[in-house]
């Protein structure tokens, strides 16, 4: 080690902090200038930690299930009655759906309808919350030889979850539709009017830019629109709900606060790229 005088050493020790503070500003500029670098570092860290989290998730899931089991037994009677009623209702809906499906097939056959290609999908486990204070996202463990790409669509068993924004060697990050940077073209199902669904980091994203004369109605179903080629048409998103201050929000159909499994669909879309997380510059895509 180089021998330094006490004065030099003290001066150096005093300089460390200001230099590092300057370095943190430099880091901010670097993060702004080269968004890919930060993304790579994050995904590398995610790849390294995902197996550990995946192992830890299981015992935690068991504990949660036990707790849920206790509450389930507690209100089994009431739940049973409610389920029986719901079952009756669903049976009626099922017969209607089957009849409509048959009719739909017949009409399509008459019209020489070109069928949509059925998308390929993979199912992945959610291993960690990949959001922050100012972001809503989840980290998926997708295995080493996955074919997941940026911009693919994530759904749970009930509806739209979000889009894949970053892909690592073993993990993928899905930006949820509630994130501040999420913008999704949607269709209001009753009026077939277009609107944009914007995330606000809260549990319920907002509807904006709907066509004049067809405001969203309370309880109306909202589905994705194929406009701009970013999403396939008619994926279930949620239902409209008005806040106290009369702002139309959407209650997501997907259980975004309790995601465990997510299906990632490859619709082979070539439209808009998925949004980037807070503080990152949009990546330029060659067409």
């Amino acid at each position: 080690m180089v021998r330094l005088s006490i004065q030099t050493r003290q001066a150096l020790a005093k300089l460390t902090l200001p230099v590092l503070i300057a370095a943190s500003f430099g880091l901010m500029l670097l993060g702004k200038a080269d968004a890919v670098l930060a993304e790579r570092a994050r995904m590398a860290l995610g790849d390294a930690l995902a197996p550990i989290y995946a192992v830890l998730t299981r015992p935690l899931g068991v504990v949660r299930d036990r707790l849920l089991h206790v509450t389930d037994v507690w209100d089994a009677h009431a739940a049973n009655r409610k389920l029986r009623e719901e079952n009756e209702q669903l049976r009626r809906w099922q017969s209607i759906a089957l009849a409509l499906d048959a009719e739909n097939q017949r009409l399509k056959a008459n019209l020489h309808w070109i069928p949509d290609n059925s998308p390929s999908f993979v199912t992945a486990r959610v291993v960690a919350d990949a959001g922050g204070v100012y972001a809503r996202a989840v980290l998926l463990s997708v295995g080493p030889n996955h074919g997941v790409r940026k911009g693919e669509i994530a759904l749970d068993e009930r509806g739209l979850v979000g889009r894949v924004t970053e892909v690592g060697a073993r993990t993928a990050r899905v930006l949820l539709l509630t994130d501040l940077n999420s913008r999704i073209p949607v269709i209001l199902q009753n009026s077939r009017a277009h609107a944009i669904l914007t995330g606000n980091n809260g549990p319920r994203p907002r509807l904006i830019y709907w066509a004049e004369g067809s405001p969203p109605q309370e309880g109306e179903r909202v589905v994705t629109s194929s406009e701009a080629g970013a999403f396939p048409a008619d994926l279930p998103v949620g239902t409209v709900h008005y806040t106290v201050s009369n702002v139309p929000e959407v209650v997501p159909a997907a259980m975004l606060d309790r995601l465990e499994m997510v299906r990632i669909f490859d619709y082979d879309l070539t439209g808009l790229a998925a949004p980037d997380a807070v503080g990152r510059q949009p990546e330029r895509r060659g067409r």
Partner: protein, 184 residues
């Protein structure tokens, strides 16, 4: 560590095991902070869990900068901040700057702060957590070119203040036992 110990008295021989012991005790504050940060990222499944990470990080850096600045030097604070940025999906540098400033101020006011009672130290920490949350909020807003809502920053400040006593109890206990180099 480089300087030879010149105080009079008997002391044990510098065996490898003893050197390792001393090194572990010196590394304890930084390592425990990083381990706690990684633990905070386990998906427990409760709402706003993402706020836990910055809260734990600031509390640990504040505590160790106060009681043992030698074990929490600025470069280590910088690395911890970088890890916070990467794990917490903040824009790069946004986690680092508040931590470094907090560290610098604590080390400067150390003479006064160490003589205060726990509630006073906690109160000062409340000021630090509010400042750090506001700074992170302002920087994130600036770097993403939009005015973000203040709600999450406020919640982060409150959670940080509320978590501090619990973390401090653990850290004080560690400071007096496993992390004390004099006990090696």
């Amino acid at each position: 560590m480089a300087r030879p110990d010149q105080t009079p008295g008997m002391r044990p021989r510098q065996t490898l095991g003893r050197k390792l012991d001393v090194a572990t005790r010196h590394a304890f504050p930084a390592v425990s902070t990083i381990v706690l940060m990684l633990l905070a990222e386990i998906p427990f499944g409760f709402a706003s869990q993402a706020t836990l990470l910055p809260a734990i990080t600031l509390a640990c850096v504040y505590f160790w900068s106060l009681v043992r600045p030698a074990a929490m030097p600025p470069p280590v604070v910088f690395l911890i901040g970088l890890l916070l940025d990467l794990l917490g999906y903040l824009p790069l540098g946004v986690g680092v700057l508040p931590l470094l400033i907090a560290h610098g101020l604590v080390v400067r006011w150390r003479q006064v702060l160490t003589r205060q009672s726990f509630p006073a130290v906690w109160l000062v920490f409340a000021g630090f957590s509010a400042g750090a949350a506001m700074l992170s909020w302002a920087l994130t807003s600036l770097l993403s070119f939009r005015l973000l809502s203040l709600g999450p920053a406020l919640f982060q400040a409150i959670l940080t203040v509320a978590l501090y006593p619990a973390l401090a109890v653990l850290c004080i206990r560690a400071h007096r036992t496993v992390a004390d180099p004099d006990q090696a």
